[in-house]
């Protein structure tokens, strides 16, 4: 359920809207459900709304954990 993908905010627009991109594909979405949106933020996009921001450090950490798991180190 719930098709949702990470997209990058490129431009903050009036009325809680923003222009976001995904590898050169761009779209106008609503950011009314989240606070403090800035260009460069990554957000999770679902049915035209940003649901939440992505935390870049935690994303890094997840990748590190995955690498470790692959190498057989316990999380």
């Amino acid at each position: 359920m719930c098709l949702a993908i990470p997209v990058e905010v490129r431009e903050v627009l009036p009325d809680d809207m923003a222009r976001v991109t995904l590898d050169g594909v761009s779209k106008i979405i609503s950011t009314a459900l989240i606070n403090d949106v800035r260009p460069g933020d990554y957000v999770i996009l679902h049915v035209g709304y940003a649901l939440t921001k992505i935390n870049p450090e935690e994303a890094e950490r997840t990748l590190a954990l995955i690498q470790e798991a692959a190498m057989g180190n316990a999380t």
Binding site: C2, L3, G24, V25, S26, K27
Partner: protein, 346 residues
């Protein structure tokens, strides 16, 4: 005393019902837009049909209706598409396309400027392909009874001696060759749909493939079992069609299938699989294993086949499954799309 007519006001005018009524206004529209754009001796002859001479032997005929919305999209419009699409269906029989016909159904109120643009694209596409539009027809229907313009093109071509491609010819062990990246046309069109609106630097791959086919035939014509252009339904539909017509299965390798990054991104955004997205300048060929290498080389040497790749092979399978090895080393079926309704949420 020649009948005087006001010039077509192409810049500001609209198609009205008199343009379809069989009188002078219709003649003026056909002359001023279609004949001008297609410009050839057959149309100038002004018959209800056009004549040409053929050498004799096997010929093919094909037809397609074009109802694309929006009419103009990155990389083309309904006109160029209508020329390329029918040329391709002819070419998929390994035939050399000779001539096209075009039937226009136009909605009252359609801007003449748009019609001219479409006709000019058809002229350019047809001259570019060396396949003239030699006969046509124009109908105008009331506002609200069409969607701008619909075009049906038909074409005829000649099949080189000794070639006889058939839908049921795929055999276990045959190679499956794809001529290039998938999904470009469908994504380019969807990017301009009102209810999906997104911007993508994706351009339709709409192109006439008969040149590529000629190169393939020269390299290994007898080794080509069959060809298809994966249009509506994408390569998923095409492979399933062939599988059930030839009563075989396919094993396809996901990583071998080229997908442009922007196309992949748009597919993510829409929740669609590029395997189900339409192409208008790609072909899938099934070839005997011994011919695959030469055919592939010939394709890669052609501008429209530079990214050609063997993407899988035919297997014996009573269930006619199209199976794909995913980039994960897992397996999955590639099925027809069950009439996808976009946009979706899950």
């Amino acid at each position: 005393m020649e009948a005087y007519s006001r010039n077509l006001d192409v810049a500001n005018g609209h198609v009205d019902l008199s343009h379809g009524a069989g009188g002078r206004a219709m003649g003026q529209l056909i002359e001023g837009i279609f004949h001008k754009a297609f410009d050839n001796i057959w149309l100038r002859a002004g018959n209800d049909q056009s004549a040409f001479t053929v050498p004799g032997g096997r010929m093919v005929m094909s037809t397609d209706g074009y109802v694309v919305s929006p009419l103009f999209f990155p990389g083309g419009n309904i006109g160029s598409l209508a020329v390329h699409g029918t040329i391709n269906d002819i070419a998929m029989a390994a035939a050399r396309p000779l001539y096209l016909s075009a039937s226009f159904i136009i909605e009252e109120g359609f801007p003449l400027a748009d019609l001219e643009r479409i006709a000019e694209s058809m002229g350019v596409a047809s001259r570019g392909a060396g396949v003239p539009i030699i006969t046509g027809d124009t109908k105008v229907v009331e506002r609200g009874k069409a969607d701008g313009v619909f075009i049906s093109t038909s074409g005829v071509g000649v099949v080189p001696d000794g070639l006889d491609l058939r839908a049921d010819a795929a055999r276990p062990g045959d190679a499956v060759i794809l001529s290039g990246s998938i999904g470009d046309h469908g994504i380019a069109v969807m990017s301009k749909r009102e209810n999906l609106e997104f911007d993508a630097a994706v351009v339709s791959d709409s192109a006439a493939l008969h040149g590529l086919v000629t190169a393939m035939v020269e390299a290994g014509g007898r080794q080509i079992r069959l060809m298809r252009d994966p249009t509506r339904g994408g390569i998923a539909a095409t492979l399933n069609e062939i599988a059930s017509q030839s009563k075989v299965g396919f094993h396809i390798d996901e990583e071998a299938i080229p997908v442009k990054p922007e196309v992949a991104a748009a597919c993510e955004l829409l929740g669609v699989d590029p395997l189900n997205v339409a192409n208008e300048g790609k072909l899938v060929a099934v070839a005997a294993p011994e011919g695959a290498k030469a055919i592939l080389a010939a394709m890669r040497a052609h501008p429209l086949g530079r990214e050609a790749a063997v993407v899988g092979h035919v297997v014996a399978d009573d269930d006619c499954f199209v199976q794909m090895a995913t980039s994960f080393g897992g397996g999955r079926i590639v099925d027809w799309l069950s009439g996808e309704q976009l946009p979706r949420i899950c």
